[in-house]
């Protein structure tokens, strides 16, 4: 997949990161971390719906919703003392929000490695975001088969 067919909002996130010097990329990641939306009320008492991303170092849980208009929404919870993990979840929650199932499934699995964080964050830590994307796609495949 080339840059041009990455969904617009994901391409924009990538461009925003790549436009910055390394230390500023961490600041942007922190901004994403602070922007991770709270769960909608209807999901707040449903921990059963959420799947733990065990590849992440801190407890992060995700749930993928496909709404009546067939648009995808990713919800995630992660503790405040784990801002890196929150930032990863927030990038995906914002970047995937409102896309169609087919568009999300077509996002390259290596998207996390392409947004300029490999050096600033380290490849080991980035695995957490790769796992989040992988689990999001798997939930969608299961959802659409059912």
């Amino acid at each position: 997949m080339t840059d041009t067919d990455l969904p617009g909002q994901l391409a924009e996130i990538r461009e925003d990161f790549l436009a910055l010097e390394q230390p500023d990329r961490l600041q942007l990641l922190l901004e994403f971390s602070n922007e991770l939306p709270a769960l909608p009320e209807r999901y707040q008492d449903h921990p059963d719906l959420f799947e733990r991303v065990v590849e992440c170092q801190s407890p992060v849980f995700i749930f993928v919703e496909v709404d009546a208009d067939k648009a995808v929404h990713l919800y995630a919870t992660a503790p405040a003392e784990s801002p890196t993990t929150r930032g990863f979840a927030s990038i995906l929650a914002q970047g995937l929000d409102g896309l169609s199932v087919a568009e999300v499934l077509a996002v390259p699995d290596d998207f996390p490695q392409t947004i300029g964080l490999t050096q600033a964050v380290s490849p080991l830590r980035l695995r957490g975001m790769t796992a989040m994307l992988g689990r999001t796609k798997r939930q969608l495949r299961e959802r659409t088969l059912a």
Binding site: L26, L30, C56, Q57, E81, P83, Q119, V121, L124
Partner: protein, 300 residues
């Protein structure tokens, strides 16, 4: 030492009380010439989310590890790093971090490989500072670059390689990982990502003492008497033999290395940083599974 030590009575029973400072001490000494405060965390942007005023950041992975080989940075890179953080060879460095100072202890151990003399931990780390409602700031790091000499790393005293561990068998080994990793049910800490060990279990004869047993609820180190009970009475360390501690990549065992060396005063403790991610993938090294330590293998 550049800056006076913390005379707090709670540290008096430790073998080297000068290696710890309390949150009260640090609060009172912020801004003292010759003192540099360093935050070192597992989470790579926790510092950016708020840190102790004036503190600089050193990341275990992106700063202290060599980016290509599985090793620490060399003397030239260390000198450049510390100089850029405003640390001189005679600076008093106080390190603090998340997870009961787990990563802070790792950074302190690396500083010690380069022989930086006055490096201390903030007892209780980041969490205690936060719990006490003390000030954090999001100010950008603003260290003035100074000269730090190029000092070659000395791996001979406090670092063990795999070959050192093989020839050490028969002397005390402390496995500081979780019980599940020790017994071989899993190769990574519960809730941690797979970091690639092919086999599970522990080094024969190693005693299991999970690192966090040395930390109290408030992230401070446990009192001397409790640490003696754990490491001397229970694990059988006498101080008369050399000790090697290991975990998965050498970070949790840095915490234990700090406890054994500076709090209990054992004088020959090494950290095996290759740890399980090396041992558990190495060819033809002995491994024991289950909860028993297992016996020292005979030559084979």
């Amino acid at each position: 030492m550049t800056v006076e030590t913390d005379p707090s009575s709670s540290f008096a029973a430790f073998a080297h009380p000068e290696r710890l400072v309390s949150t009260d001490w640090l609060q009172a000494h912020l801004g003292t010439p010759g003192l540099v405060v360093v935050e070192s965390d597992e989470d790579v942007i926790l510092y950016e989310s708020g840190h102790i005023p004036g503190a600089v950041k050193i990341d275990w992975h992106t700063d202290l590890n060599d980016p290509v080989e599985r090793d620490y940075i060399d003397g030239t890179a260390f000198a450049a790093l510390l100089g850029a953080k405003g640390i001189s060879r005679d600076s008093t460095v106080v390190i603090y971090g998340d997870k009961s100072n787990w990563w802070a202890a790792y950074a302190l151990w690396v500083f010690t490989l380069f022989g930086h003399e006055d490096v201390r931990l903030l007892d209780g780390g980041r969490q205690k500072w936060l719990d006490e409602g003390r000030e954090l700031t999001r100010d950008r790091e603003s260290a003035v670059t100074v000269d730090y000499p190029v000092v070659e790393r000395d791996d001979s005293r406090i670092r063990a390689y795999k070959e050192d561990v093989l020839s050490h068998l028969g002397h005390p080994l402390i496995d500081v990982r979780s019980p599940e990793e020790y017994s071989g049910e899993r190769t990574t800490a519960p809730a941690y990502p797979e970091e690639g060990a092919l086999r599970a279990g522990h080094i024969p004869s190693a005693v299991s003492v999970p690192w966090a047993r040395a930390a109290a609820e408030d992230s401070t180190f446990r009192p001397r008497a409790e640490l003696d009970a754990i490491y001397r009475d229970e694990a059988g360390l006498t101080g008369e033999e050399p000790v090697i501690a290991y975990c998965r990549i050498g970070e949790r065992s840095s915490h234990t290395w700090f406890v054994l060396t500076y709090l209990l005063g054992l004088d020959d403790v090494r950290n095996y940083d290759g740890s399980w991610t090396e041992w558990g993938s190495a060819v033809r090294v002995p491994i024991v599974q289950g909860t028993a330590a297992g016996s020292v293998p005979t030559n084979r």
